[in-house]
Every structure is written in structure tokens, then in C-alpha cells.
Symmetry: C2
Subunit: 124 residues, 2 copies
DNA sequence: AAACTGTCGATAATCTATTATCATATTCAG
DNA sequence: CTGAATATGATAATAGATTATCGACAGTTT
């Protein structure tokens, strides 16, 4: 049976309160504030576990390590800040009807990634 | 000075004739047809060299090894076939004006990746 | 309290992609 | 044609991300 440990709880809290996709390293750093001595292995273990249970879903951005975000959100995409390397959620999506794919191709899903500078980096 | 070797020529020809972004392994396989004994190290060396010279540009797709395509094409995006794992070029782009980024964020570039089944895989 | 089971942290091991090494071979200017 | 510069292929090494291992520990169940 799955137990409720301080580490696991901290990892969940970190991801909920961040409200954006986080890499294992980001989760580790933020998690250490809540649980002293938190280890990277525990982070990976729990990210995997929470993903398998459906509570998290992986977010792959080009050339970046996999990030994880809390599941259940409506269709959306992501923004990657070039300064701080943090990913953010972008609501809404105009769809992909306007793309001209070669004839005979069937489009099933799509990803959009916006790159730029986030508000807090821009302010500095 | 840069020399003209059969291997380098083959790698260039492979990328031009494919007309789509290719991974080092794909380039190796296609290159072996033209130059017997072509090695993966040579492929990596030349992809790097041709990228540095501006003749190629890297194409990163989420969770995929870097692919390379011939430079100089107008703004476009890519389609990844889930069956054969080949990437294709998608012309045109409706732009990203319709995305609502959080206030204070500055969008500089964007990537769109369409996923589905390509014509040749669909036909089978 | 003893046995169980799931979890933890440290760290070794693995995996994949890419680069470095090095002996041999090729290219091309003179 | 000849030699110095450059390239090649095999393979070892590296790098980054992730997983496996293992002894210790904690909360539960007998």
C-alpha cells in the first residue's frame, strides 16, 4: 500500500504551489525547503510513481529534460523562459487547422512551445 | 582547409535529397548506401561541421534526438510520424498572436510540432 | 516488542547521445 | 608525384538523465 511520507507530500505540494511544469532538479531544490535532506532518488521515484498513478503528467520540451505538471488541466501549451529556464503554462490554443500538412498525413495531436523572457526576468 | 571527401559529399546529398530533418542514425543509414563503410563518428563530425558553417541547422523535437536539416528555408515547423518516427517539414505558420501569454511575458520565437501518421505509414 | 513492508538517501550502475583518441588513409597544393 | 594537412573508422571516453542497489529506518500489524 502506498504510504503518506513527508517527502511524497512535499513533492506534491511543490508541484501544486508552483503551478507550472518542473524538472526533477527544480522539484528537489524546492522540496529541500520543506523536507531537509531530501534526495534526488526520492524525487525521481515519486515523480515516476505519481505519473504512473495519473496524478502527474510529463512535459517534454525540445532539448530540455522532462518536466512534470499536475494532471487534469485543459488543453494548453508551454512557455520557456530563456533567462531562468523555467517553463510556464499558456492557456488557450488557436488550434492547428491552419497548418497545411502534406496530403495523406493525419494529424492527431500537437505541441506549441513559446520562447522568450518571463515577467520576473524581464523586470530585472 | 576543408576538403571534399566522398563521405562529406554523401552526407550532404542525403540531407538534400531527403528534404526533411534527419537524425545522425538516419544519415548514417542513408549514407552507407552511397559510401560503403561510413562510420557514425564521421556522420557526427560532419553534421557538426556543416552546422557550424551554417549549411545545416539543428531541429530539436520533444524527447527526440537532435535532427538536422538544410538551412535557408523560410519559417516553418515539423510533423513527427508516430509510426516511422520520421520528421517532416510543414510549410506555413499561422503565427502565435492568438496565444494569451501572461502579462509581462515577451514572446520571441516559437515551435510547433504536429504528431500523427505520415502518408506512407497510413497507406500500409 | 518482533516481524513486515514500504520508503528513504547515498551512490553505483545504466542508457543514450555525443565527442575524443589514435592509427591509418586520403586529399590537394606545389 | 610527394608530403603536409586533413579526414576517416573503430572504439574508448564523456556527459546528462534516469534507474537500480542496498543498508537503515519508520509506521503497521501481530
Amino acid at each position: 500500500m502506498e504510504r503518506d511520507t513527508p517527502q511524497r507530500r512535499a513533492i506534491r505540494e511543490v508541484l501544486v504551489s508552483a503551478g507550472r511544469p518542473m524538472s526533477p532538479d527544480e522539484v528537489l531544490d524546492a522540496g529541500k525547503v520543506r523536507v531537509e535532506g531530501l534526495g534526488i532518488a526520492t524525487v525521481y521515484r515519486n515523480l515516476k510513481l505519481l505519473t504512473k498513478s495519473g496524478w502527474l503528467c510529463p512535459v517534454d520540451l525540445p532539448g530540455e529534460p522532462t518536466r512534470y505538471e499536475v494532471s487534469g488541466k485543459p488543453h494548453h501549451h508551454h512557455f520557456l523562459c530563456r533567462e531562468c529556464d523555467r517553463a510556464f503554462e499558456i492557456e488557450d490554443c488557436p488550434g492547428t487547422q491552419k497548418f497545411h500538412v502534406p496530403s495523406g498525413f493525419r494529424v492527431e495531436t500537437h505541441d506549441v512551445v513559446l520562447y522568450g523572457v518571463c515577467a520576473s526576468c524581464k523586470g530585472r
